[in-house]
């Protein structure tokens, strides 16, 4: 059983995705049950794999019994295991939240939604556990294709947003694949560990430079790193809330993981790879500032949160680009913290939209009186984006800032602090309005009836409250997370 954990993590949701549409024809409730069961199983398997990797070192699984470098290898080290837990647990939490959205869908629609959602989780888990560069491309495309389909479910506007994402996403995927082609041409291997052993001998070749450039461009589009973030705001704004909640929480983070994995576990340090990281650092600092500045200009709360994601992705990539153990710790902690925080923000804002049809910042006046629990969760998560202690966001930003100062990189430090100050402005205007503003008469009148429940249905409220609790808990436990998981997930040679 234990030796099969790496493959089971991927196969369980994949198999469930094949079954779910059939179950959905009989009953939507049963289809949702299968989806939840499969995701719970995947989460349990991921946790087991992570524990095993932490206790006894990385798990290696050879597909079809072919040893690397011939066969495809799956590797669950603490880094991959931690990311797998993140993806599977968020898949489960957001799947719980989908309940009210599935009601009223035609049977084929509900079953199809569950199937595509499971495929998205499968793709992201596959990216995380694979030890093969080409296999990573296949999973990247599985997750992207599922994401295009899910993002298009939000009505007319989402169709166009999804198509644009598809065009850019395919360019990104093709660039990554070409980059892998160049690496394969000079090393003759696709296995990550094998490539890492062979690359230093050929790192001076021009083909290596081209490969690094293509892979970096491909992954930064998938990451939505400024200035290649163009697809993200529309896609996040118009998609159904559960989809945005999940994709905003983990999808760009998994691309960040791929970037980290390739730069610190495959490419040899020094030379071209370091140049690329330096370039990424400046783009990331610009992203942190520009994302927050653009968020300030938005009137739609979801769009504001989407631009806020662009800024927070900058934080993560900045940590990766600096590459010291302290910076990578900060980046990984921010991957976790931002996933919890942004999922909480999107799900509570989406719940408010679901219940009151309010999406504009201007109309948030008095919302806190009508949906007190959701708005409280939103506020806790907002504090985490700004980086107020004791929320989770404070600690990862602290690590990142410490890493930047350790390097003496003052422009980056200014970008981090400036971005936090801007995020305080754009988030607290929402919070302030919702608590202190008077509810406009028109909004009250538009409520269905006086006695209607205003707070969200339990299926939506439980995930929101869990995530808000997670924001606080991860803040309190951040030292434990760093010392017991992230410390083991860092590259063995201690980064750069």
């Amino acid at each position: 059983m234990i030796e099969h954990l790496p493959i089971l993590v991927v196969v369980v949701p994949l198999a469930a995705a094949a079954v779910v549409p059939l179950v959905g024809l009989r009953s939507t409730r049963a289809a949702r049950g299968v989806m939840l069961a499969a995701l719970a199983a995947a989460a349990a398997l991921a946790v087991a794999a992570l524990r095993q990797a932490l206790a006894e070192g990385a798990l290696h699984y050879q597909l079809g019994g072919w040893p690397p470098p011939w066969g495809i290898e799956y590797v669950v080290d603490p880094l991959a295991g931690g990311m797998a837990v993140l993806v599977a647990v968020f898949g489960l939490i957001v799947a719980v939240y989908t309940g009210p959205f599935l009601v009223g869908m035609p049977p084929l629609g509900a079953g199809g939604f569950c199937a595509v959602y499971l495929l998205l989780v499968t793709g992201l888990l596959g990216i995380v556990v694979t030890g093969d560069l080409f296999n990573l491309y296949v999973f990247l495309e599985i997750s992207s294709l599922s994401a295009y389909a899910l993002l298009a479910l939000g009505g007319k506007r989402s169709l166009v947003a999804s198509f644009r994402y598809l065009v850019l996403g395919t360019i990104a995927g093709s660039f990554y694949l070409l980059g892998i082609g160049y690496l394969y041409a000079i090393t003759g291997t696709l296995n990550m560990a094998d490539a890492a052993a062979r690359l230093p001998a050929v790192a001076a070749s021009p083909a290596f430079t081209v490969a690094v450039a293509l892979i970096v461009i491909g992954l930064t589009i998938k990451l939505a790193l400024f200035p290649l973030h163009g697809w993200l705001p529309d896609a996040y704004t118009y998609a159904p809330t559960p989809v945005t909640g999940f994709i905003a929480a983990v999808m760009t983070k998994v691309s960040a993981y791929a970037l980290l994995r390739i730069f610190f576990f495959v490419l040899p340090g020094g030379g071209v790879a370091d140049d690329a990281l330096r370039l990424l650092g400046w783009a990331a600092a610009a992203a942190a500032l520009a994302g927050s500045a653009m968020a300030l200009a938005q009137t739609d709360v979801r769009r504001m949160l989407a631009y806020s994601s662009v800024g927070q992705i900058g934080y993560i990539v900045l940590g990766i680009s600096i590459g010291t153990p302290l910076a990578l710790t900060g980046a990984l902690l921010h991957v976790l913290n931002h996933a919890v925080t942004k999922a909480c923000l999107f799900l509570s804002a989406g719940g408010i939209l679901f219940r009151t049809r309010v999406a504009d910042v201007a109309n948030y006046r008095g919302i806190a009186r009508r949906l007190p629990i959701s708005m409280a969760a939103f506020t806790v998560a907002a504090a985490s984006i700004v980086g107020l202690p004791p929320t989770a966001g404070f600690f990862s930003k602290w690590y990142l800032l410490a890493a930047v100062l350790e390097r003496g990189a003052w422009p980056f430090a200014l970008a981090l602090v400036g971005s936090s100050l801007l995020s305080a402005v754009y988030l607290f205007r929402v919070v302030e309005r919702s608590y202190l503003g008077d509810a406009p008469e028109a909004a009250v009148a538009s409520e269905a009836s006086e006695g209607a429940p205003l707070e969200l249905p339990l299926g939506m409220l439980v995930p929101i409250v869990l995530l808000a609790a997670g924001v606080l808990l991860l803040g309190v436990l951040s030292h434990a997370v760093v010392s017991q998981v992230i410390a083991f997930a860092l590259p063995v040679d201690g980064g750069r």
Binding site: A152, V160, L166, G173, S174, G188
Partner: protein
């Protein structure tokens, strides 16, 4: 297979040209179907690149004694890129399918596939 007459690396130039044509097709025309066609050309460029990696003159068969190390990549005619590109073609078909489905839905919802008209309708 490169014959004596063709300049060396002509296949790289070919795949590079296809790549640029594909990128142009995806980014410049305003019709969504044209963008999709550009996308298919881009994917073909990648396929040409991989397949041409595998071809070489005087290569040996990709055989190795059981338990032995694989021969150096430069020496043998490699079947693996073909297998990889089969997968890439499947991915391409999947992407094209999703894109066509989106295009049909966009046509039904907006009555146009011209990006400028779509943007005008969206900003109303």
């Amino acid at each position: 297979m490169i014959t004596g007459a063709a300049p060396a690396h002509i296949h790289y130039w070919l795949s590079g040209a296809l790549l640029l044509i594909g990128l142009y097709g995806m980014l410049v025309p305003s019709n969504l179907v044209r963008k999709l066609m550009g996308m298919n050309i881009l994917q073909t460029a990648v396929i040409v690149f991989f397949i041409s990696l595998a071809a070489k003159t005087d290569g040996r068969l990709p055989l190795t004694a059981s338990g032995g190390q694989p021969p150096a990549a430069l020496d043998y005619i490699n079947p693996l890129p073909h297998a990889l590109m089969l997968t890439a073609i499947v991915v391409g078909v999947g992407t094209t399918g999703v894109a066509l489905a989106l295009i049909i839905r966009i046509q039904r919802a907006f009555g146009t596939l011209d990006e400028r008209e779509l943007l005008a309708k969206l900003s109303e």
